[in-house]
């Protein structure tokens, strides 16, 4: 029951939203959510990286289990992710140089986004098969994208208002994130009914 595809999707997308409920990918969530236009592009790039690296890690994990080298998991996964990020970087540079310039330093930093590493680790520990892993990866990264876009919209509004200089910056962003996170707690009940 807990492993139906709809459940896997809803769980990763809303109920246990990667950013607002499990606290993954915080650095970029707080760092890149200043502008809506950058936020959604970053979200989509992360979605691409997570989905590709999740499928690759699934294949790699089969190989590691085959040769009894599970202790190499963390190293292998991080190398796969670094390679995928490199690939994405080259892809975006070729397809849209403007976007490449806009994302700038944040693009290589996707490597150290813990949401990206967490997806392969979670799918391994939960024993998902290939289809479930892919759905999980799309849902989890979609949830990341959703949270990033929501926060960037709120922050663009808050920028227009007068805030005490003390609270400006990270502290204010954290309070906004807390309110968003409170809202997402409302989804917690969905898991029990399904």
């Amino acid at each position: 029951m807990n492993d139906t595809l709809t459940h896997v999707f809803l769980d990763a997308f809303l109920i246990n939203n990667f950013v607002l409920c499990v606290f993954l990918g915080m650095c970029s969530f707080l760092g890149i959510s200043g502008k809506f236009s950058t936020a959604w592009r970053m979200g989509v790039s992360v979605m691409f990286v997570i989905t590709v690296s999740s499928v690759l890690s699934y294949a790699m994990n089969l190989l590691l289990v085959g040769v009894h080298a599970e202790y190499l998991r963390i190293i292998t996964y991080i190398i796969i992710i670094a390679a995928t990020v490199q690939l994405t970087e080259m892809f975006i540079k070729k397809m849209s140089p403007a976007l490449f310039r806009e994302l700038g330093v944040y693009l290589p930093l996707i490597t150290t986004n813990c949401a990206v590493l967490a997806v392969p680790l979670f799918q391994t520990s939960r024993g998902y098969n290939l289809v479930q892993s892919t759905v999980f990866a799309v849902a989890a990264s979609g949830g990341y994208c959703l949270a990033l876009v929501l926060l960037s919209m709120v922050r663009e509004r808050v920028d227009l208002s007068d805030v005490s200089s003390l609270a400006k910056g990270t502290a204010l962003t954290l309070v906004l994130a807390a309110i968003l996170s409170l809202a997402f707690m409302g989804f917690a009940g969905m898991g029990n009914g399904a």
């Binding site: 606290f23 202790y71 963390i74 813990c114 502290a171 954290l174 309070v175």
Partner: protein
């Protein structure tokens, strides 16, 4: 804040410098706002916060020591990839160590132990310090940063455990009539308590800076009078 960033990675001399920097002046969480994921996720109790802080310190010390010992062999172009491979090795060691030492702690920290690999602090120290300095200062720097991280996690964990569960390190603090504020154990509580700590930290800094400039004005004033 700006001068704190400016002197980041500058030459340091005595061991206590490293600790003062890591714990206070360059605190990775309160000043640089790095390593947010474990800071928010693992601080729902003081015990978990301390364990996470110590595990990260261990990774920092091992990886920074190795990186600084090998700094002349690592080519500039592939240094980040090399750092990540070394860090991932240290994290694998910690993963198995914690599992062997205490299985309950291992279950409580869950996926966040492997995720130390993608903690920005762990990658930031080699880039800013260990890649350019000898072994002993690098290890001291790693210890200072690690303790600063553990200190910040414990601060956050204290607030969340005391308010959210009414206990400290598992010991009940208040009478049975205390109604725990469960929100602080849940995700929003993490965000709110970190926001409160950051506000407290920056207001304290502002107050100190104001005091200092007032003191400087007092010291300068007589000199001006003499000059005129």
């Amino acid at each position: 804040m700006s001068d704190a960033v400016a002197c980041h990675g500058a030459a340091k001399s005595t061991p206590d410098h490293f600790f003062r920097d890591g714990l206070w002046k360059q605190n990775p969480v309160f000043v640089h706002v790095l390593g947010m994921c474990p800071t928010l996720a693992i601080t729902n109790s003081v015990r978990n916060a301390l364990c996470m802080g110590l595990a990260t310190t261990f990774v920092l010390v091992v990886s920074d020591g190795l990186i600084s010992a090998m700094r002349k062999m690592i080519p500039k172009q592939v240094r980040i990839a090399t750092y990540i491979a070394i860090i991932a090795t240290a994290v694998t060691v910690v993963d198995y160590l914690v599992k062997a030492i205490n299985i309950n702690v291992y279950k409580a920290l869950g996926a966040y132990i492997p995720l130390i690999v993608s903690n920005c602090i762990v990658l930031e120290r080699p880039e800013a310090f260990a890649g350019k300095n000898p072994v002993v200062p690098s290890i001291l720097d790693a210890l200072g940063t690690g303790f600063g991280f553990a200190f910040a996690l414990t601060c956050l964990g204290t607030v969340r455990e005391v308010l959210g569960a009414g206990t400290f390190l598992g010991f009940p603090l208040f009478g049975s009539s205390f109604e725990p504020w469960v929100l602080f154990l849940l995700p929003p509580g993490g965000f709110i308590s970190l926001a409160i700590w950051l506000l407290a930290f920056s207001s304290f800094r502002q107050w100190r800076a104001k005091q200092r400039s007032a003191q400087a004005a007092i010291e300068v004033a007589p000199a001006v009078e003499v000059g005129s």
